[in-house]
Amino acid sequence: MLPQTLVKEALGIALSTGADYAEVFAEHTNQKSIQMVSTKVDKIEDAVIAGVGIRVFKGTRCVSGSASSLERGAVLACARRVADALGTGSAAIANVVLRERRFGDIHPVKIVPVSVENSYKVDFLKEACLAAKEYHQDISQVTGSFLDVDHNIMIANSEGLFAEDRQIRTRIVCSAIASRDGENQTGSCSPGARVGMELFDLFPPKEVGIEAARQAMTLINAGYIEAGVMPVAIENAFGGVIFHEACGHALEASSVALGQSVFAGKLGEQIANEKVTAIDDGTIPNGWGSINIDDEGTPSQRNVLIENGILKSYMVDKLNGRRMGMAPTGNSRRQSYAYEPTSRMTNTFIAAGEDEDKDIIASIENGLYAKKMGGGSVNPLTGQFNFSVAEGYIIRNGEICEAVRGASLIGKGSDILMNIDMVGKNLDRGQGMCGASSGSIPTDVGQPLIRVSSITVGGR
């Protein structure tokens, strides 16, 4: 993407005012999204994103800059701007020797999306939308989209690293609206993976459409849940958003290093119920949140965050690692060159446990079964989180009963982790886009069916 000689020159300029570390990140990305309304292509967004992001550290101080260009003049000017903003010292590192390193690709792609014409993608998307539309006469509208990203990155730094990676991912989204008596309800299904056009083999479009419509129809037939505090069984796959919000963000070094996390200084302590083991693993082959190397060039790894309730590890990037005296864990990520990278999740999930699903449901006298979760958010400082239940059912006397709309779950991460007192066996993952200071990045959440013994449920 950038010649090594240019990268070396940029690092030299970046280091010229006394930095003890310099890094050049370059990117060339092709990104296309085809959007369908009803069963017709309505919009296509087709973008080339290209630029460079340069950072220097001096101790725990970081100066960074970015520019939308891969041309020599712009890259060197960006390096100069960064060096000048750091100060007026003289170079502490003289000669950077770059060694090209290869980390392999554990996420093989079969058909590269950028090489495939629109009509091929449109046909599959149409299949999904049509299946949703034909599901029921009350399905009043269907929207769909197919997204493919071909993200090429290069990372070089003053420690001599020179590495490149190509990250291809695809996702299909189908949303259905059910309408009756002036009311709308929505359902959606949006599987994705770090694969090419073979996504449609993994997730047949027809099933994606039917799932979206089924959910919308379930909800148009449902009433609202009554608000209160109750036990909740949260289903596997995207249900794992509870861990992502309630705990995951507060284990990112970006919060921990600044003392802005409820879990700062708690390594080795019991922070969750002993049934809970939680893992962040960027090495799952073709996982939506998987990477070969992170955006600082550290190989991705499997990090056990919590083991039987004991806090074992944080997710650490280079800069915050300096504050914490900890090594990077392969979690430093950025949406693009235009964002500064920081510690983020990859594929984060609660590991499979020992409980049977039927026992979990049977154990709840009056409560909620959250079959599909929506998204959520958290304040890592206070631990207060919230997320919405996309599809829920009342549990009465240990049995799943009628569907309910409009539920949301709120609480404090440190409390909820202790209240996860049953963990099922059937682990699955779901896909999301996670937004934070370094932009919007693909992450997987996951878990088996779990029981939270007590949580506040918002409703009407």
Partner: protein, 449 residues
């Protein structure tokens, strides 16, 4: 390659491909920001971003392609990609490229005095010091930020339009972390506009107050309560549901306001206005992202729904004139629809007056989880919230760990009183922002303990 050369290369490529109707949209922005942690400059960032979007019309269908990589080969590829994309569009509505001839408002040119790097660092350092000095419970984790943004955009098309716009402003925010009794609390205050108008004492005081006010907050019993939404909260509700006023959403069956023009959709005290050139807006727009002249209009007047917001395509489909609300979410986006300064008009009475009328209820000052807990298609919301009890008509103890639930369309009808304290969402740094005074709602469902 610079933009002017790239523009010529694209025009040549378009002509070579015999593309007659096309438009080029150019956007450039530069941002500088500094961040203070403890007593050191933790971060200093300067970023510049530039992008070009090409769109072309083939048989009434619009194809788009964008790039940040300006080169001869890319100019050709850009035109080819947009052409392929135009041919893939199947929706039946006609798309348009605007023709010159509009009369655009002329705004007085204000010179934005932007700070130097040294001034930014000095300012944010003094804000950081002031945050610590404001209250002895302020602890590390507290941060001060300051920065500025400069942006430029240009629109050129085959129908003779050649427009340019630019904006520049500064911003700052203080984030205070307070520890009390083993618990941590955070608060924030934001200011934006002219750099020399920022008041360190005021920002620090408000940020610390925001955190300290929540100390000792508890939940309340679940139930139905009269609720006062602070101006800030009501503005963010409006922002979450702004898309329901888009003709594009309505025509696609994604808004319940479809075909509701002329109907009473809100309490009769509600007037909702969209103003592209509101005097205190950071960024004013005299033309929209299709080059159409903008103007001020009421969307709801005395509770009655007046008009959806339109762009060229939706207006033609509905047989009306565009309202000048064509909008690209980023330079790479297709043209959609958005409001400018979009606000509920102030009526009468202070926040205290609203609480007095509520009697016993909840005053909500913060809601979280909008992106998941609020659905614009259904209008339903169920959001984590915090604020204060209203006891005997007065602001009482702090409240947290509650949810507030309802439906936006019902909410509009149940607004019992609107205050006079109009405030715009301070986080909206572009030309689209929502505002509202504090409002009293007869009854809402609260989940607590």
């Amino acid at each position: 390659m610079n933009y002017q050369d790239f523009k010529q290369a694209v025009i040549q490529a378009a002509e070579a491909k015999q593309v007659k109707d096309y438009e080029l949209y150019y956007s450039e922005s530069a941002e500088t920001q500094t961040e203070i942690f403890k007593t050191e400059v933790k971060g200093f960032n300067t970023s510049s971003r530039l992008g070009v979007c090409f769109k072309c019309l083939v048989d009434g269908k619009m194809g788009y392609a964008s790039t940040e990589h300006l080169s001869e080969e890319e100019a050709v590829s850009l035109v080819e990609r947009a052409l392929e994309n135009a041919k893939s569009i199947e929706s039946e509505e006609q798309a348009f490229i605007h023709t010159k001839g509009d009369t655009y408002a002329v705004l007085p040119k204000e010179e934005a005095k932007l700070p130097t790097a040294a001034e930014l660092i000095d300012f944010s350092m003094s804000l950081q010091n002031q945050l610590y000095a404001t209250d002895n419970r302020v602890v590390d984790g507290t941060q001060a930020y300051a920065g500025f943004v400069e942006s430029k955009s240009a629109l050129y098309n085959s129908n003779g339009l050649d427009l340019e716009d630019s904006a520049a402003f500064s911003f700052t925010y203080g984030m205070a972390v307070v520890a009390d009794n083993g618990e941590m609390y955070d608060g924030m205050e934001v200011a934006s506009g002219k750099f020399d108008s920022f008041n360190v004492e005021k920002i620090a005081k408000e940020a610390v107050k925001d955190a300290v006010d929540t100390i000792g907050a508890e939940s309340v019993p679940s139930g139905k309560y009269p609720v006062v939404f602070s101006n800030k909260v009501m503005a963010s509700m409006l922002s979450t549901y702004a898309s329901v006023f888009s003709a594009e959403a309505a025509q696609k069956g994604l808004s319940l306001l479809k075909d509701k023009e002329g109907e009473q959709i809100a309490a009769d005290i509600v007037t909702l206005t969209d103003d592209p050139m509101k005097e205190d807006a950071l960024v004013k727009a005299t033309f929209d992202d299709e080059g159409v002249a903008t103007y001020k209009k009421n969307v709801i007047e005395g509770g009655q729904f007046v008009t959806l917001l339109h762009n060229l395509k939706t207006a033609a489909a509905a047989g009306v004139k565009t309202t000048g609300n064509g909008h690209k979410a980023s330079y790479a986006s297709n043209v959609g629809i958005r409001p400018y300064s979009f606000y509920i008009n102030p009526v009468k009475g202070s926040l205290d007056d609203l609480m007095a009328e509520a009697g016993n209820g909840i005053y909500i000052t913060s809601v979280e989880g909008m992106h998941a807990g609020a659905n614009a298609v259904t209008g339903d919301f169920s959001l984590a919230a915090s604020g204060f009890c209203i006891e005997d008509g007065k602001k009482g103890r702090p409240v947290k760990s509650i949810t507030v639930s309802g439906n936006f369309f019902t909410l509009l009808k149940e607004i019992a009183r609107i205050g006079e304290d109009l405030k715009f969402n301070p986080f909206a740094l572009g030309s689209s922002r929502c505002g509202s005074p504090s409002v009293l709602i007869k009854e809402m469902t609260i989940a607590g303990k």
